[in-house]
Amino acid sequence: MNIIVCIKQVPDTSEVRINPETNTLIREGVPSIVNPFDMYAIEEGLRIKEMIGGKVTAISMGPPQALEALKEAFSLGVDEVILISDRAFAGSDTLATSYTLSKAIEKIGLFDIILCGKQAIDGDTAQVGPELAEHLGIPFVTSVKKIDEIREGYLRVHRMMEDGYDVIETRPPALLTVVKEINEPRPPSLKRKIQAKNLQVPVWRKEDLDVDEKRLGLKGSPTQVLRIFPPEIKGERKILEGNLEEQIYKLVSELKGLGIL
């Protein structure tokens, strides 16, 4: 199987602070990491390869320093990495990003499975994966927590839902976005990490892709951010604990106390 994993370099939000005036992230001085959900996508790609053979390619669209994220993917065991980077891509929203990624994947050509993290922890939109599948005209399943069966022409996965999971059958080539329940990422390999230091990462620029310039970067991004704010918490909540009987008992006495019953 040819597996493509899309990864993004993000600020380590456990180290990030928020500017209280603008409600935006203060990115200066914050270390960059591979988006944590993408780490699960890389691990799943490697597991598929170990199980049924194939090749794993990691791609990332981002500024030149995003090659560090690709080097990390390499040290985990992916076979090939490609950086998609050009000034013309700067300011892309999810639509322009997924368009550009789709063009890079068309250039790679053959693929069976594309894996993405469920969402990136900086933007949290969860849009790029599904949009990418739409651009490529292939089926997609989001929030996958288990690949149940995978073989030539057949794929069955578990999609995580709030109250359980869906079993979904589809047919490769397909795109999956994965959640953290899917696996436990491996540590980097010492040998590959040392190789990665001198790794020549191929960089694909605008000219390397068959793209419509109007759909790139800021120009190709219809999204407008009006305001960013933390969600308001409305009303008081109370979570009742204990077994069902205890909870019912507590609920009844609460309601009686409020004069509802």
Partner: protein, 385 residues
């Protein structure tokens, strides 16, 4: 302190630290409580290429030496000594092959150890032969193309879990220490079985079992070096591996010190954090002094070994004694700083204190190490005259 580690060595330390923090710390209490073998962690260490640090590249290793192994062992030990013992016992078993094996033997056994595909164990101790290793009763009798092993090895780390065993047995009892030989024995050989898993005070994630040989045929190709070399194989191996015990001690002490500092800042009594009391600060200072001194001794001795020196038996005995005594003291003091909470299983220092004790016992007790140092001093003084 900067120990002038190379970039590769820093990478080794970082990867081992990452595994210690992400995989070992979250599971150590449960592994200890359930006395469970750390299969998942061993898999992660294999994926990270850490099993082959000291094994040459041509046998699938990383091509480093004692210092590289010590760095990894130290990081793992700061999180859990049971895990690091399981890991380090592989080196104890591989060194006899590395130091004394033929090209054929190295080619057939080292790659699987280096990749972590197979675990290994070293079997010298018996019920009646601990410090007095020369008293071993296990025999290996040559019959045609085979040696037939009979006897029981006791308290063998990784017993039952390992695939490859290096075993010391007597080929000629009449020759005393010159009648011992070293063999490679594979799990699954007829007549080779395991006793029950021991219940231990500490390092409970590690598996310690008896190895039982009943008319067990070992191909003569599996004899390491020559007949009669068994004790030399064992002693040269232990000379090197003692530095690993030192690294375990440094790691454990470092882990206990970190926990103690963290706790002393959080715990308030008499309206202040207890770290504001000079009595606590001085204890912490002494713990830090000892830990750093032990680390300096481990790294410098490891570098002496890696430089190709042949004479390091006394120094490696010093490393083993000092670092293990440091670990015991620092862990005990960490429990003291935690007070009653330190005595409870909810906090990691209780386990660290239980674990530390083994370092003063295995791979030659600290009394035996002092004997080695004492004899070396006598020999040195005599040769000056």
């Amino acid at each position: 302190m900067d120990y002038f580690l190379t970039d590769a060595q820093k990478t080794i330390r970082d990867i081992a630290r990452k595994i210690a923090i992400e995989k070992v710390v979250p599971s150590r209490a449960e592994l200890d409580e359930k006395e469970e073998f750390p299969h998942e962690i061993m898999k992660a260490l294999a994926q990270a290429d850490l099993f082959g640090l000291y094994i040459p590249e041509k046998y699938g290793g990383f091509g480093g030496g004692s210092i590289d192994l010590a760095l990894a062992v130290e990081e793992l030990s700061s999180a859990c000594l049971g895990v690091s013992t399981t890991f380090a016992a592989n080196a104890l078993a591989a060194y006899p092959v590395l130091l004394f094996g033929s090209e054929e033997q190295k080619k057939s056994f080292l790659p699987d150890i280096a990749s972590g595909k197979k675990l290994a164990a070293f079997g010298l101790t018996e019920a009646g032969a601990g410090s007095d290793a020369a008293a071993i009763q296990t025999t290996a009798k040559k019959e045609g193309d085979e040696y037939i092993l009979n006897g029981t090895k006791q308290w063998i780390t990784n017993g039952g879990e390992a695939e490859i065993y290096t075993i010391i047995a007597m080929t000629d009892k009449s020759k005393g220490t010159r009648g011992a030989s070293a063999f490679i024995v594979e799990k699954g050989t007829p007549g080779f079985s395991f006793g029950k898993k021991e219940k231990k005070m500490g390092i409970r994630a590690s598996a310690t079992r008896e190895l039982v040989f009943e008319n067990c045929p070992v191909p003569k190709e599996n004899l390491l070096s020559k007949e009669g070399m068994g004790f030399i194989v064992a002693m040269r191996t232990l000379d090197i591996s003692r530095v690993g015990i030192g690294a375990q001690g440094v790691g454990l002490a470092h882990g206990a010190l970190d926990e103690a500092v963290k706790y002393a800042r959080e715990r308030h009594q008499f309206g202040k954090p207890i770290i504001s009391f000079q009595a606590i600060q001085h204890m912490l200072a002494d713990m830090a002094i000892l830990t750093e001194s032990a680390r300096a001794l481990v790294y410098s001795t490891a570098r002496v070994i890696d430089s190709g020196s042949k004479e390091y038996s006394k120094e490696s005995a010093m490393v083993k004694v000092f670092a293990s005594d440091v670990a015991m003291k620092v862990a005990t003091d960490a429990v003291q700083i935690f007070g009653g909470y330190g005595y409870m299983r909810e906090y990691p220092v209780e386990k660290m204190m239980r674990d530390a004790k083994i370092l003063q016992i295995y791979e030659g007790t600290n009394q035996i190490q002092r004997n080695i140092i004492g004899q070396a001093l006598i020999k040195e003084a005599a040769s000056k005259k």
